[in-house]
Symmetry: C2
Subunit: 169 residues, 2 copies
C-alpha cells in the first residue's frame, strides 16, 4: 500500500488556495495522524503474524498475563482492547481454539466468565513479549527521552481535546 502523504498535502494546498479559512496546519495534523496509525498498525501486525498472532490476540494474551491471578473477564478485555464485546467473544473463541486460553464460569458471579492462560499460552506470550519490546526499542531508537516525554504529553492532550469536543457536540 502506497503511503505517500504528499498526495494529501498537495490536495490540501490546492483547496486552501480555492477556499479561505482552512486551518491548514491542524488539518494536516489530523490527516497525518491517520497515516502514522495505518503504518503502525501494519508494521506490528506484520511482526505478530510470525507468531500466529495479530494486534488483538497479542494484546489479549498480554492483558491476561498482566491480570491478577491470571484471570480476566471478557468485558474487561473489551475495554482494554477498545473492541466490542461481540468481538471479544469471538477472539476468546479463537484463543481457546488455539489452546492458549481456557474459559471457565465464574463462581462469584454466574453471569461472568473467566479467561486464563493455559501453560502453552503463557509460554507463547512470554516468548513473544521480549521480541516485540526489542522491535519497539528499534522503532523509537531515533527519539530522545525528552522527545518521548513530549510526544506522550501531546498525545494525552490531544485525547483530552477530542473527549471534551465529543461531549460538547
Amino acid at each position: 500500500m502506497n503511503l505517500d502523504f504528499t498526495y494529501f498535502e498537495n490536495g490540501i494546498g490546492s483547496i486552501s488556495g480555492q477556499l479561505p479559512g482552512m486551518p491548514q496546519d491542524r488539518v494536516v495534523l489530523n490527516r497525518l495522524f491517520f497515516y502514522v496509525f495505518k503504518e503502525l498498525d501494519d508494521v506490528y501486525n506484520q511482526h505478530l503474524s510470525e507468531f500466529g498472532l495479530n494486534s488483538s490476540s497479542f494484546l489479549a494474551l498480554a492483558m491476561i498475563l498482566s491480570s491478577e491471578d491470571n484471570r480476566l473477564n471478557p468485558s474487561h478485555l473489551s475495554a482494554a482492547l477498545i473492541a466490542s464485546r461481540t468481538n471479544v467473544t469471538r477472539l476468546a473463541d479463537d484463543l481457546v481454539g488455539s489452546g492458549w486460553v481456557s474459559r471457565k464460569p465464574c463462581t462469584q458471579d454466574r453471569r461472568r466468565v473467566e479467561l486464563s492462560l493455559t501453560p502453552s499460552g503463557r509460554k507463547l506470550i512470554l516468548a513473544v513479549l521480549p521480541v516485540i519490546w526489542q522491535r519497539i526499542e528499534q522503532q523509537w531508537s531515533d527519539f530522545s527521552p525528552a522527545e518521548i516525554t513530549e510526544f506522550d504529553r501531546l498525545l494525552r492532550k490531544m485525547l483530552e481535546g477530542l473527549r471534551h469536543f465529543r461531549m460538547a457536540s
Copy 2:
C-alpha cells in the same frame, strides 16, 4: 465504547514488574496512539454522518475538489485515502449512486476512469468543508502554535522510523 486508557497502563505496569526489559514509556506511547486514533476516527465519523458522509467519502470529495480540472483517477484516490483499489471502486459506486460524482472513461488512457464532482457534489463539499474546519479549530484550540509545529515534527519522525523499520525487517 469505554476508552479508559488506565486499563492498559495498569496492565503494562504489572507486566513490567513480572518480566524485565520492557521499554515501558515507548510501549505506552504505541498503545496510546491507538487510543487517540480510535477517538479521532469516531469523532469525525460522527460529525460527518450529519451530512450523510463518512471519513472516506468526505475525503474523496475533497480530493476531487482539490484536483486539477476537477478530475481524479480511482488509483490516485486509493493512494490519498490509504484504501485498497477494491474499496475505492465501491466508494466511487456509492458516490455516483448518491449523485455527487460522475464516472467517465479517460480518452487518453483507456484503462483509466475519471471521477468528477457533479454540481450537487460540489455544492455539498463546499458546504461541509467550512463546518469541519471550524470543528478542527475547536478540537485543537488548546494547542499553541509551537505545540502544533512540534506535534507535526514528531509525527513525521515517527512515520520515518516506522518506514525505515519496516524496510529493515
